[in-house]
């Protein structure tokens, strides 16, 4: 799939988790020849996670790659340090893995205060401690003033999972239920509110969160077919990816999806769609129907899933579509977002 002529340029939307990003990723993947290792999951569409099977073992190593750039570096509810670890840990969990370790490469702009670095690293460390992941290696690069704004971090997550625990995007089966762990759009909206200096009645915080308390549920519950954290591109991008990769349709009910009043207000003012706004502490789960109630109840007993709700189901008809039933009984197609107008959010 050659979507880009060579004399086109990369736009912000290419980083937004939507269709434009798919094109960028395909552009890269098309140029990569060796993509898999052993029988593991490897680059299919330059995915952010892969598995490496261990010989003579019923387990496999899970590896994820993630870049983190956020502005401002410190925002209500989180910062670059905690975000980097939480994002990495969440990626591992979404693949059904137990997070073990993390490596990080920190790119620093010349002139950055050590005070700022101090806060970021401490926050990075605290989140790692909370998730019980070891920070096992790292690299630092300093870029000349102007060649980089502030600090960005690239992480790799290393986890382990039983080979027979199969949780992946292409695994959503007709009849299964879709569970969402809480309200959507909080992260993106909180960042916009801070950047634009919106005067909100109640302060809006990012939902940034390390979802490590999901691990016992992942490890002890049957019927989980897929899990995903709807970050860039929001719920709309995440559900569309499932529908596409699993070749199914996903039907959701609008009035089941929690959206905070502040998030809706910001979305309305700026003409954004909450379904497309990034989250950093939410997960969606696709669960076999007979286990859905059990998973929902378990989720509601942990902090990360306190507000979990069942929002829809998977069907075989109309494959590769996400359809939302509105409160008035209408139906509308939830498109995969094109790009993302809010840069540096994750």
């Amino acid at each position: 799939m050659e979507k880009h002529k060579l004399d086109e340029i990369v736009q912000l939307g290419h980083g937004g988790g939507g269709i434009m990003q798919d094109h960028l990723i395909h552009f890269i993947t098309d140029r990569i020849l060796i993509k898999k290792i052993g029988n593991g999951i490897g680059v299919d569409s330059y995915d952010d996670g892969a598995t490496i099977p261990l010989e003579n073992s019923d387990e496999e190593i899970v590896i994820t790659a993630d870049g983190h750039t956020v502005e401002p570096l410190f925002f209500p509810g989180g910062d670059l340090g905690s975000l980097s670890v939480a994002g990495t840990v969440n990626d591992l969990l979404m693949m059904g893995a137990r997070p073990l370790a993390i490596t990080s490469t920190i790119f620093i702009e010349e002139g950055t205060e050590f005070r700022l670095l101090d806060k970021i690293i401490k926050s990075f460390n605290q989140t790692a401690k909370q998730a019980n992941v070891a920070i096992i290696a790292g690299d630092t690069k300093v870029l000349p003033k102007g060649a980089l704004k502030d600090v960005i971090i690239a992480t790799t997550g290393i986890g382990i999972k039983p080979k027979n625990r199969r949780i992946f995007d292409a695994n959503c089966k007709p009849g299964s239920k879709i569970i969402l762990t809480g309200s959507i759009g909080d992260h993106g909206a909180a960042l916009i509110a801070q950047r634009q200096n919106f005067a909100l009645e109640t302060p809006l915080e990012s939902d940034e969160r390390c979802l490590i308390d999901l691990l016992p549920i992942i490890e002890t519950t049957s019927g989980i077919q897929a899990m995903k954290d709807p970050t860039r591109g929001g719920l709309a991008a995440a559900l569309n990816e499932w529908a596409h990769k699993s070749n199914v349709s996903i039907w959701i009910e609008q009035n089941k999806i929690p959206v905070k009043r502040e998030v809706q207000s910001i979305a309305d003012i700026l003409g954004l769609e909450p379904l497309e706004i990034a989250n950093e502490g939410k997960a969606i789960l696709c669960v076999e129907a007979e286990y859905a109630e059990e998973v929902l109840t378990k989720l509601q007993q942990i902090t990360s899933g306190r507000d979990a709700v069942l929002i829809g189901e998977v069907k075989a008809e109309k494959p590769d579509m996400v359809i939302m039933e509105t409160p008035l009984g209408g139906k509308r197609i939830v498109e995969k977002p094109m790009g993302e107008l809010i840069p540096r959010i994750c």
Copy 2:
């Protein structure tokens, strides 16, 4: 070790592979609590490599983290793409590991031409193919114009090694010999020459090189105690790190160390020390005396080691020092460089 007051700022020298970088790394490490996993090697001084032992196996996983920023993106002898893979593969080899896989996170400035990305990715892929490593996962982030200059890449290398193959910096023993695989300073000097537009009689190329042909020697030869690729901070930084971590002295002979005439000229003009200039395709090996000749001969039979020479030896006296004998019979201490005056070289 608290070397930095919080109101100090990060300078370019903090990224240069020398003493200032040590301070930056300690600043980070001091703030990290969880550092190891199982019995593996983990963060000791925020090292760029770590091991994860596999249960019920005589092998262990080796993980390395590396950030790559180079200017210009394309230089005589290499580019950002090939450099990223070669650097990662070389890091794995230096730990005695067989490289298996690589993940990458690409940070792209808004406005970058797809043409440029095309060249970088193709080069990235070609080097991976040459080293027979799988590109198993990746992430892309697009930063707004001005928040990043061009493109930078962060990689993680994944390799495997027998638990009983112990090749590491703190393992240099008195009596052992030091072997260098070829001339020094080519990479840094080539970049400077291109940036400053020096008119050289003969074109100077970077030595950037994936050292994968060292693997059979690593796998079949006894007596290799330590290996290192002298990148940032050059040979001076690498040898000083060995002397420090192994608590030994390293004695080298100046007239054994190959320095190309062009490199020496550039160093002379700019007042640089070739020992401190970065390499991207060289290795140093610390080898037990009785195996040194065998290793040297084997090295000279492969492309990466064609010009390999024995440059010195390890002694117990004067620990933590690197001493160079000059052609006239004098001795001088080779200090660890303070910082690096050439940013964005690797």
